[in-house]
Amino acid sequence: MTWLEGAHGEHPFDAALGLRPDLRDLYRAFYGKLWDDHLAPAALLELCRLRVAQLHDCEAELAVRHAGAGVSEARVAALADWAASDRFDEAERAALAVAEKMPWRHHEITDAEYAELHARLGERGVVALTVAIALFDANCRLRLALDTEAVPAEVAAPASGAGPIH
């Protein structure tokens, strides 16, 4: 239960940010653009979002599933040891290699890992995915710092400019 008064309800993270409505709306527009504009494959975003949440042990982020991303629970279960799993294709492995290091080991990301990501996604894709992973990381930190509730949900998208952020 968050210690922020007024940050409760069906979408507690969105409600917490909503204590500053102008910033919440602009953050929805920024974060939601990943899905609103289809800036990267939905499955790739979902795998990276959930892996970053696992690394943070962020229950509130892990409670959300993007229903349209097509990521099975079997693949989610394999995420913790994705490097040893055969359930992830080459593009997913390139993305997960960066996602794995962004939260706690960002200085260990290598040029070779980025070259692999570039080969799979191109420059625009690399920028979109890097922003996405950074925002997944930031959201976990925000949720944990604000202690927002975990609300299990299968959603059309984790966020949208039309809101809310799940």
């Binding site: 653009k33 290598t110 980025y114 690399v126 920028v127």
Partner: protein, 65 residues
């Protein structure tokens, strides 16, 4: 940390930087600019507090930029 930019500039004639790399995704760049600009130009916190926490965050993450 890399010694060369991993993403090139999307702005002709300008060197790779945070802004010119983000410009590969103009929609994201615009949305980020609106959010970050509002954060700095309005709000409940004074500029001293924002700047102190920004600098401390950069130190903790060892971000020389």
């Amino acid at each position: 940390m890399s010694t060369k930019p991993r993403v090139g500039s999307a702005v002709a004639g300008e060197a790779p930087s945070f802004g010119t790399a983000l410009a590969h995704q103009p929609g994201l760049a615009g949305a980020f600019g609106a959010l970050y600009g509002t954060f700095w130009s309005k709000g409940a916190l004074d500029h001293r507090t924002k700047e102190v926490t920004r600098m401390r965050n950069a130190r903790v993450t060892d971000c020389g930029y």
